[in-house]
């Protein structure tokens, strides 16, 4: 655990500084074709109750059969979280009644999860790096969905999600601010997407978090925690923690005590509100599921999965800094999303790495961000951007023209080199042609010439004029050289 108190993270109350302590339970839907214990499809958005097997509907006499692909995905995730893999784990039943829980119990792992302790390294916006402990990861079934607003007195139940595999990833209470919590979820999401074990789509509910928040004076024992359930947005997680920490501080400073309870976040109001108290908590009557044998893995199978893991963001970042000589900051930007990293690597291959990084982060990244689009569906492909960079590198176009070309690629598409040829965007490096323009500008502006002789910086004005006259196609370097010699600078 990170036990050092980081003073900058303290929240100032009326009576001094408070430390917020956060732990998370992240539910990540396993990327798999079929459900955890049945062959039904996991496809999202299908007609209600169209992906429901006899097992999912808990018909009499039905038995669960473990989907080995889901187990492999959980193990791969555990390895990606630098965690211990438990070669023997046990499925338990968590018993409670709810209409969208057909069996009357959820099959989960309680005392012996498939993955044990691990660690996630999180980069914070201010450049600080913190290690967040992972307590465990276990496999469990998702429930179905109850729909309460279609009928005045009845509820509808859709069992398509019933039995879909989830990984519950539990962090240690190592997080000390909303920023850390948000960065942790973002990093976890990134790792899952690199591994391909969860699509990380929070809008579809593929990634949801329960956030445990408590406050204490620095150095004190842990305070009583409240659990904020079912958060499906990183931004809301941050808001909820901020609100909840302040709520708890106010109660304690007013002489009150925190009730251990489950709360919900209302994004409209930016508040958390009580859902149920500890007394109302279910007694889940966990016991080992007698329909399933303990899950046994061999070390060699685990080793095989480990050997086949893709390069993960931390390793990729180290490699970008070490082998590509990128700055730590740029490397961090490029590896945060797997798709960005893949895009960058395709662009940078055999090209000027710094130029590639600059274009991917600033031009493309800025534009995607502005339009709220994902790099995976970028209108400018890595091939196109690479072609554009080739044109800069071989001096066919200037940096300025390149921006125009990027705009054309974004809106119209096409082959960069063909576009440059067809639209006459090629940079002019013909000395004679440029000289003629320079002579013309000098002849027309004697006062500026006199000015430039005393103030060499005024050459910039001439460069601008020449570029303008050439329609931006003159090579800025060549223009500069000719001007200097003509003006005798």
């Amino acid at each position: 655990m990170n036990e050092q108190t980081r003073p900058s993270k303290l929240i100032q109350g009326a009576t001094g500084g408070w430390q917020v302590v956060i732990g998370m339970e992240v539910h990540a839907q396993v990327a798999s074709q079929s459900k955890l214990f049945s062959g039904a499809s996991t496809e999202f958005g299908a007609a209600p109750n169209s992906h429901v097997s006899l097992v999912d509907a808990a018909m009499p006499g039905m038995l669960p059969v473990i989907n080995e692909e889901c187990v492999r995905q959980a193990v791969r995730t555990g390895l990606g979280l630098n965690a211990r893999i438990n070669l023997r784990s046990v499925f338990d039943r968590k018993n409670y009644f709810y209409p969208d829980l057909p069996q009357g119990y959820q099959i989960s792992q309680y005392k012996q999860p498939v993955v044990g302790e691990g660690v996630v390294t999180v980069d914070l916006p201010d450049g600080e790096v913190v290690d967040i402990g992972i307590e465990r990861l276990h496999l469990e079934q998702d429930a179905g969905k109850s729909v309460h607003d279609r009928h005045p007195t009845l509820s509808y139940v859709d069992l398509n999600r019933s039995g879909v595999a989830l990984m519950e990833i539990v962090s240690k209470p190592d997080l000390r601010s909303s920023d850390e919590a948000m960065a942790f979820v973002a990093k976890l999401r990134s790792i899952l997407r690199y591994l391909g074990t969860c699509d990380g789509d929070m809008e579809k509910g593929s990634l949801r978090a329960d956030v445990n928040v408590s406050v204490r004076r620095p150095g004190d024992e842990l305070g009583t925690r409240c659990e904020i359930k079912n958060m499906n947005s990183i931004r809301f997680i941050g808001q909820a923690i901020e609100y909840e920490a302040r709520r708890q501080i106010e109660i304690i400073e007013d002489g009150g005590a925190i009730d251990q309870e489950t709360r919900l976040f209302d994004p409209g109001k930016g508040e958390t509100r009580s859902m149920r108290s500890k007394e109302e908590a279910h007694d889940y009557r966990y016991f080992p599921d007698p329909d399933l044998l303990p899950l046994e893995l061999t070390q060699s199978a685990v080793d095989e999965l480990k050997a086949a893991l893709p390069e993960l963001p931390d390793d990729k970042k180290v490699r970008f800094v070490r082998d590509l000589a990128l700055s730590s900051y740029d490397a961090g930007q490029l590896v945060a999303e797997r798709d960005t990293a893949l895009y960058f690597e395709a662009v940078a291959k055999g090209r000027d790495v710094k130029l590639a990084a600059n274009w991917v982060i600033n031009e493309l990244g800025g534009r995607l961000n502005k339009e709220g689009r994902d790099i995976a569906v970028s209108p400018v492909t890595a091939d196109q951007l690479g072609g554009l960079i080739d044109l800069i590198s071989d001096k066919t176009i200037s940096g300025k023209i390149a921006k125009d070309l990027f705009e054309i690629l974004w809106t119209e598409g096409g082959d960069p080199r063909a576009l440059v040829e067809a639209r006459g965007m090629r940079q002019v490096t013909d000395l004679g042609a440029i000289e003629a323009v320079v002579d013309d500008v000098i002849a027309k502006n004697p006062d500026k010439v006199a000015d430039a002789k005393t103030n060499p910086k005024a050459i910039g004005w001439f460069v601008g004029q020449v570029m303008k006259s050439s329609g931006g196609k003159a090579s800025p370097q060549v223009v500069n050289d000719i001007l200097k010699s003509k003006l005798g600078l």
Partner: protein, 491 residues
Amino acid sequence: MTELTELTLAEARDRLRAKDISAVELAQAHGAAMEKARALNAYVLETPERAIEMAKTSDARIAKGEAGPLEGIPLAVKDLFATKGVRTTACSHILDNFVPTYESTVTSQLWRDGAVLLGKTNNDEFAMGSSNETSFFGPVISPWRRDGANTELVPGGSSGGSAAAVAAQLCLGATGTDTGGSIRQPAAFTGTVGIKPTYGRCSRWGIVAFASSLDQAGPFTKTVRDAAIMLRSMAGPDAKDTTCADLPVPDYEAAVGKSVKGLRIGIPKEYRLDGMPAEIEKIWQQGCEWLKSAGAELVDVSLPHTKYALPAYYIVAPAEASSNLARYDGVRYGLRAPGRDITEMYENTRSEGFGAEVRRRVMIGTYVLSAGYYDAYYLRAQKVRTLIKRDFEACFEQGVHAMLTPATPSAAFGIGEKGGADPVEMYLNDVFTVTVNMAGLPGLAVPAGRDGQGLPLGLQLIGRPFDEETLFSLGAVVEREAGRFTPKVWW
């Protein structure tokens, strides 16, 4: 010519193959017998049309020389087995009119091998009971009566309908399930042969679950040979049940009649109970003599944790049942008793749909799994279970091949006679059988004689895991000496 219903399964099989009789004739004869025997309440659903259809198919296959091992054999199926398109209720009000769209693995294997479905047999509700008195369809009346008396007796339970149907010659064999003795106890009470195979020998897929870690399917038949024939079709690996063993199924019939010379038979001293009827003691002794004369060697063994088996069983089984029965909630199928909200609907449905014994066990199971009680009850019971298993393993490691015990502590009792005031009185029926389920071992009940009032008594043979063959060999010896037992028709 004997009545067709008096044939054994093996005899019928051979005569069908010889085209001496037809499957349709055989099905019709049993259909007629079933009609006459409705007073027994052995069947909760008769499927005569389906039987004739299946029998016709069998006759066609026999004619083409494509007969399966059970071709044309009319069987009864306990109502706990899901049968596609045929109502399956576990004899509970909560599954009223439930018609599965699927066929249990065990029954599908019977049909694959050519068997014919006569109907679904009565059982204790969700297999919870030892007398078949908890069925929503009412009790089964045993075909057996005490000499010179008219008292209605129980056939035992929970597979009472299957046992009665075989004893009364209303089928050539029947499926049962055994969680704590539900095959062996009714077999003993009705003078039939019943085997609970090793846990994992038969697939549980499609069988309404009572206690998953204990439930196991097995056959009821008139003879040991018939049980061997029928089990071979029922057993085998199933990818749909991960607790089902991936082991080939031997030709059990070949073990019938095989010499038992040199087999070491353990006689566990803990099965000699205080207050046990002298007749039970006598029949046990008799069984020992028979096996000894057949060349087996008898050894006294000890299973020291036997006395803890019954209490531990009545923690483990209800615990699993409380969870297994949670799916009967009125939401998707079966009975729904409306309520003002979902909680009230659950409460109304489950209190109306489940009978008293099922409710009692769900309550016990819920209690022993509750926070604060789990360690004291469930966890402790699981530890006891491990010790019971070790007791048996220790004996087997010392070279014991099988054990001989009484099957039940008494002969059949009267309807309404036991358990009215104290359910434990009823639970004590399982005292000799639950250990076998707790240890996951195979157990065969074979008729061995009659008590002073003419009621059948049975012996139990307990075997090593997946060594059903030795049980069939030993059972055949007892059967050869004791003969067969058939009740006089009074119905």
